[in-house]
């Protein structure tokens, strides 16, 4: 830690003066001067650090520090220049011109050029699990060293958000363009980027140490000398580490009891609803091809039988909020004008009667299995709740436990399930993380997190396809509004809750990130409190 000498005092005073002019509390400005190390604790385990070919918070969090993307999204979901100092959408919405900043370099000193942008976007289009992000990209052409033009087969309103930090890292062609399959490239664990931090050490299962990149293209950024991501085996260990000050930031506090303990840490700040663009939704999915669940009245009946107030209040400790449809509430395209399936056992029973599932002599109408992703405590709780909940309407539920993720994934992706708790994330624009669940063209046996419910509604297909190409935001909202209404009415899943992400920051952290991506954004403005 730097000593508080005269030079530092003068710098701090200058920062405080500037800060007070722009409305930043003076103590924040002074204390957020450059320097310091912050440790982020997580239970997520990254396979590697190249988010061009890998999704998931585990990889995206460190990757957002190592790589820069063309754009960044501000807190109002508007794209802002980042690695690209300028971006221009053509009048026909079929191309986007990106002009890179002058002097932007990779961590190895080589310049970031339009060739790297072209290479990166093509790599993401061809190898990233979210194929829809750059699906309409026909080609990326180069005007000059600093100008790349993305050419589209059709208007693609999701494109600008897709070019934000979590989703489009610009990777160096001179390293990754050697012909090796990028998904297994050896440099994925030791990458070079142009982000605010460069990699010092990555020990899988232990930590990722990143230090400030002094030639970062943004002046006076990043503030920190070092960011360290430290991995813990379980939430209990991580919480203890947060309480003891071994980590400054606890990413993803998911348990209400953990949150209560974290709040008691002196000076700690909890950011609830962090990273709204991630949009994790948890639902009870139905195999609509199963004869017992093919009739939507049965599915609706099950949804009416679930007491969401009890689930959210008692079972989840009030930590999350109700999910009402396929788009998370933080999204600009969310619509609340859908059937809420408020708890109503009488209605549920009538629907089942109308669907031909009357109670037998023992009161049972049918038997259904329910699965869940193993090793997720919340999902196990849901499974256990569903059994007595559906018993009230005469549905006997058998809780089926998969020994591990591959077994669960095989069952669900292979249609060998009846009901399952599942967690699917929006990832910002509906084109990226929402369409994949509801489009009938995405019914792909053997592929997890596709349309594993086997849901098919031509009207929904049309609405989503049109919304995926509609550049006018108001019209797009209207299309998604109608699609949400139909999907919720068809009830291929019973929406349960939105996982509201809470991040904990100790008093050592100044200016925690509050953008739409939360911690999976470049931490250029976050600082460490001195003293």
């Amino acid at each position: 830690m730097k000593s508080f000498d005269r030079r530092t005092l003068l710098k701090a005073s200058a920062a405080a003066s500037v800060g007070s002019i722009f409305g930043i509390p003076w103590e924040v400005a002074a204390q957020a001067a450059k320097g310091g190390t912050l440790v982020i604790g997580t239970t997520q385990k990254p396979r590697h650090l190249n988010s061009a070919v890998q999704s998931g918070i585990a990889t995206m969090m460190p990757a957002a520090q190592l790589f820069a993307s063309p754009l960044r999204m501000d807190a109002k979901w508007s794209p802002q220049p980042y690695l690209a100092e300028k971006f221009e959408l053509s009048s026909d919405n079929r191309s986007v011109r990106l002009i890179l900043r002058q002097g932007a370099v990779f961590h190895d000193g080589k310049p970031v050029t339009a060739e790297d942008v072209k290479f990166s976007i093509e790599t993401i289009r061809d190898h990233h699990p979210f194929r829809t992000m750059y699906g309409p990209v026909n080609a990326v052409t180069i005007d000059n060293d600093r100008t790349a033009v993305i050419r589209l087969s059709e208007p693609h309103p999701a494109l600008l958000l897709a070019m934000s930090t979590s989703l489009t890292p610009i990777i160096p062609k001179h390293i990754f363009g050697d012909g090796t399959d990028p998904k297994v490239h050896p440099r994925n664990s030791n990458p070079v980027g142009s982000g605010p931090f460069k990699l010092v050490e990555f020990k899988p299962g232990e930590h990722i140490i990143m230090e400030r990149f002094d030639r970062f293209f943004q002046k006076d950024a990043p503030r920190l000398d070092r960011v360290i991501v430290r991995e813990y085996k379980d939430p209990a260990s991580l919480l203890l580490a947060f309480e003891r000050g071994e980590v400054d930031i606890q990413a993803q506090i998911g348990d209400p009891r953990d949150l209560e303990r974290a709040k008691k840490v002196p000076g700690a700040q909890m950011v609830t609803g962090a990273g709204p663009a991630i949009g994790p939704l948890i639902w009870l999915a139905f195999n609509t091809k199963n004869p017992k669940l093919a009739d939507k009245r049965v599915r609706q009946a099950i949804s009416y039988s679930l007491d969401r107030k009890l689930i959210l209040g008692q079972l989840l400790g009030g930590l999350h909020k109700p999910a009402t449809g396929p788009i998370a509430s933080g999204s600009p395209f969310y619509s609340a004008e859908v059937e809420k399936y408020n708890y109503n056992l009488t209605k549920a029973a009538k629907l089942l009667d109308d669907a031909g599932f009357k109670p037998g002599t023992n009161g049972t109408r049918m038997t259904l299995d329910v699965d869940a992703i193993p090793s997720t405590a919340e999902q196990k709780t849901m499974q256990e709740y569903i059994k007595p909940a559906l018993a009230k309407v005469g549905i006997e539920v058998k809780v089926r436990v998969s020994p591990d993720f591959p077994t669960w994934a095989r069952r669900v992706s292979g249609g060998q399930f009846e009901m399952t708790i599942d967690s699917v994330w929006n990832w910002g624009d509906p084109v990226i993380g929402v369409h994949r669940t509801w489009l009938s063209s995405n019914i792909r046996p053997g592929v997890i997190w596709s349309n594993t419910q086997g849901y098919s509604n031509p009207k929904v297909d049309q609405l989503l396809t049109d919304a995926g190409k509609e550049m006018n935001t108001a019209k797009r909202k209207a299309l998604y509004k109608e699609a949400q209404k139909i999907i919720v009415d068809d009830c291929p899943v019973a929406f349960l809750y939105e996982n509201i992400n809470t991040e904990g920051f100790r008093s050592t952290v100044v200016q925690p990130p509050k953008g739409i991506w939360g911690l999976i954004d470049g931490l250029t403005d976050m600082g460490a409190r001195k003293g």
Partner: protein
């Protein structure tokens, strides 16, 4: 050629055959388990379509018939290439080498501590078998042996993590101290080592103290010890110079046999304390269907156990000169 060298060569040849057999059995058993590693990789990537799944299978050789996969794996292993981890996308050999040191450090610290302290406790207890101290050692050995390793670990985590937070309870070092100098880092590692080593060693400390006490009591009743006492030798000399050396043989045997148990105990302890060793790598590999990593860890563990038993056999010769002529 000396008899020792011939014995050593024969044992090494047998050991090599044993490792190959272990490899073949492990490969077969692991691949016979239900579950598709390609699905795990796809799940961790965030999903994949058919083309991506096909690419995953091709990249990791999962599209080939099992016998062909085994032959390829065997050939590579003999050249030191243990394949690429599905989970971490890096060579398994480098993952193992990264984690071997922490596991060896943990296991040897626990073992040496347990042997030395357990032997000392057993020896002291044997000198006055009806004393309070001897009774305490007996009770301790019963209780200590009965306590599951992971339960002891969790208790220590609660005690030193929450109630009396004077010890680190996770990891092998404080990442903030990296670059602070070799001495600072060494002390930091030692600080982190205390709780996991105590947890792992406690069960063996209980065993060795009881075994040492029993073994010493038997030896102290021998004729030559009675002769030594009659000659007027000091009690300490009798105990530590004459009796202990003869009493050590069973301890050495047990130490060698239990090395395998120590490795499996290390899996649990490493998990509780997030110690970055082979144990956590094995657990992650099991849960993630990371076949190459799991095979690599199992093969390495087999080699470690074989080496430990070999060293045990060699140590007999050092302890008992009568065995040197055999």
């Amino acid at each position: 050629m000396s008899s020792l060298l011939i014995t050593l060569l024969r044992r090494l040849l047998l050991a090599f055959g044993l490792v190959l057999a272990v490899l073949a059995v492990n490969f077969t058993l692991i691949h016979a388990a239900p579950g598709d590693p390609a699905l795990v990789i796809a799940g961790e990537m965030g999903g994949a379509d058919e083309a991506a799944m096909a690419a995953i299978r091709k990249n990791y050789g999962l599209d080939k018939p099992l016998p062909e996969q085994f032959i390829t794996y065997l050939g590579r292993s003999l050249r030191g290439d243990l394949g690429t981890s599905y989970t971490y996308n890096r060579p398994v050999s480098s993952l193992i080498l990264d984690r071997l040191g922490p596991t060896i450090l943990l296991v040897l610290t626990a073992l040496i501590g347990a042997i030395c302290l357990g032997t000392l406790m057993g020896v002291l207890a044997s000198r006055r078998p009806d004393s309070l101290f001897s009774g305490v050692v007996t009770v301790f050995s019963l209780v200590g042996y009965a306590m599951p390793v992971f339960w002891t670990g969790i208790l220590l985590v609660i005690l030193f993590g929450k109630v009396w937070p004077i010890m680190p309870i996770a990891g092998m070092r404080d990442v903030r101290l990296m670059g602070a100098g070799a001495w600072v880092n060494a002390m930091d590692v030692l600080h982190h080592l205390v709780l996991p080593a105590v947890t792992l060693g406690l069960i063996y400390l209980a065993q060795y103290s009881r075994l040492a006490r029993a073994s010493m009591l038997e030896v102290l009743g021998s004729d030559y010890i009675r002769t030594a006492r009659a000659k007027g030798l000091a009690d300490g000399t009798i105990t530590f110079k004459h009796a202990l050396r003869n009493a050590m043989m069973p301890l050495v045997t047990i130490a060698g046999l239990q090395f395998g148990n120590l490795i499996s105990g290390a899996v649990l302890v490493e998990t509780v304390f997030s110690w970055p060793g082979l144990g956590t790598l094995a657990l992650d590999a099991i849960l993630g269907r990371d076949y190459p990593s799991l095979l690599g860890v199992l093969t390495f563990s087999a080699i470690l156990v074989i080496v430990a038993n070999l060293l045990t056999d060699l140590s007999y010769r050092w302890i008992d000169p009568r065995l040197r002529t055999r």
